[in-house]
Symmetry: C2
Subunit: 350 residues, 2 copies
């Protein structure tokens, strides 16, 4: 099947060199996985900016948020020739039974009038706060709910990876709502409309004994307390989404139901995009699911980078039939691509 | 330090032979981990009854709940000499990338006038229902909240292990509230009083990359939707609670704060009991924690059985200074023991 994604010719749109480090002594390693929204006629991105101190010849250095340290960041150092250090995954490693990230991420705003050229804020907009965010905050989804924006993102710490929420109406004042989904959870996006008088969200808990990282929905009376968890889509052994999957963003309303993009990864950590169609009145009912990906990591900037073979979308804007995603490529840069909603629905047999 | 537990001389109180199977063709393998409550002057237990079909010489048989099957249970069969079968853990095994439990559990009521002699219902009181409980329901906690009882238990299925809730006021009519904590989660107990106008609960999410099975609290406006997750106690490397821990039941109000018993396990899956003391007005604040266990698996019926080396309490009743636990021993039988609350507090330095 031909891919449905039309990539921007100017990709990548944003690279690490375009982003000013948040503190002296840090380098921007990756800029990736933006939340996407519209505000005052502009397209806004909530970039994930991943930083670390420069490695030396002999040591890898790891940043950890610590309010008591200068600039709020404490630097841990590990000798590269230490036999207890396994650096086979560029994203994280274990040492003496503890796991560390190689980078610490914060969230930063970028703005565009034309959807292609982005002005990136000079400073971090949101950084990790408190014990549940000491390894950083990542992969923010933005939903426009009533008259405000609801941000849901991965909060990373030695306590695990959970989902925290922040609310804003003006992108200047931010209200922190704490953790809404306990570890191990990620990939949470709040629906932009209520259904049956309740708020709904996609989320993605991880299993231990029973393995699998499946997509669930939950509902809420107030956005901050969630229940009624239901698993709606499971990974498919032997297919492109065999090990993990997660919703991209709030679903889009279509005449056939809620259309949701999702990422799926295989055992080689190759990340593609697919789509789910959900019943309009009951989002626990899956009406259709992509057999083949609607987008695969085929461009050079998707195949090679900090973590190659990845297209990962956690935000999009809709304009008529055109759904434009801003996505992380190879966990390194931010790119753009557009889809026809009609073509995605056709690929789902609708 | 001397153990604080006074075991009942008549232990074990309930053994598998005392429990009638829930369906023809099943054997009761274990009766364990009861929720505990008082109702109409009686002590009630919500037993976990774990059943399976008899093994044959050549096959292990695994029960899975399936409404379409006779008696609602489908029997899967695996050849014991299949090299893909790893039976080193008596509780579960993997086959061709999928995990199965060796038994399926239901919940069953038992009643006592004197707290020692229990009459066990002839039939299953609550069995797994729906896709999130197809591998059974386990380890129920019971909390008396306002004028009803709130039951929280592990819901096990190929989707993972989460926490479901059931409410009852008369132990005859049961209201199912679905899943309140998504996988991977267990060991949830609702506090019996509100604090700051909200309900509170202990829960125990599990991590993947960052490992560790720590105790968290969450709060709720309505018992069925939860948020404000906070990690209050982490496993302690090298100690008796180094790999996993979980709250026993709703905490007990004392003059020094909320007293909560918990189980802790080490790398050898040896399960002991300890205690936490929490701030009365802010249960996210831990005031004290056991250095040594207050109870260890030392009796013969705790050391040997289906899964030896286990004392696991998920329910107790308080009478003056006496806290009586009914606990699972070696994952096989139900036993009783009592503690002095004053002695537990003294062991915590209070």
């Amino acid at each position: 099947m031909p891919e449905l994604a039309q990539r921007f010719s100017s990709n990548p749109l944003i690279s690490p060199k375009d982003v000013r480090p948040s503190a002296p002594g840090l380098e921007v390693e990756c800029v990736l996985n933006p939340g996407v929204f519209r505000y005052n006629g502009q397209t806004g991105l909530v970039l994930r900016v991943a930083e670390r101190p420069p490695e030396t010849e002999r040591a890898i250095k790891v940043p950890v948020l610590n309010p008591a340290a200068p600039d709020g960041i404490e630097i841990l150092s590990f000798a590269k020739d230490d036999p207890e250090l396994d650096l086979s995954d560029p994203r994280l490693f274990s040492y003496q039974g503890r796991t560390y990230l190689t980078t610490v991420s914060h969230l930063r705003l970028a703005w565009s009038d034309n959807g292609t050229d982005f002005a990136i804020d000079e400073r971090a907009t949101l950084t990790g706060e408190g014990p549940l965010e000491s390894f950083g905050i990542e992969d923010c989804r933005v939903s426009a709910v009533a008259d405000e924006y609801v941000l849901t993102y991965a909060a990373v710490s030695p306590h695990g990876v959970g989902v925290n929420m922040i609310r804003t109406s003006d992108w200047k004042q931010f209200q922190r709502e704490g953790m809404i989904f306990a570890p191990e959870n990620k990939n949470t996006a709040v629906f932009e409309e209520t259904i049956g008088g309740r708020y709904w969200a996609f989320h993605r808990p991880s299993n231990v004994n029973f393995k699998g990282n499946h997509i669930w929905v939950a509902s809420s009376p107030d956005l901050t307390h969630w229940g009624g968890h239901a698993c709606i889509a499971m990974v498919r052994p032997g297919q492109w989404d065999e090990t993990r999957m997660g919703a991209a963003a709030a679903p889009v309303r279509t005449e056939h139901g809620w259309l949701a993009l999702y990422h799926g990864a295989d055992r080689h950590n190759r990340y593609c995009l697919g789509a789910l169609l959900l019943d309009y009145g009951d989002p626990t009912r899956v009406l259709a699911r992509s057999t083949d990906p609607i987008m695969e990591p085929t461009a050079s900037y998707e195949r090679e980078g900090f973590f190659g073979g990845v297209v990962f979308a956690n935000g999009h804007v809709l304009d008529g039939d055109t759904l434009t995603i801003y996505y992380g490529a190879a966990d390194t840069v931010v790119c753009g691509a557009s889809f026809s909603v009609r073509e995605i629905l056709a690929s789902l047999g609708r």
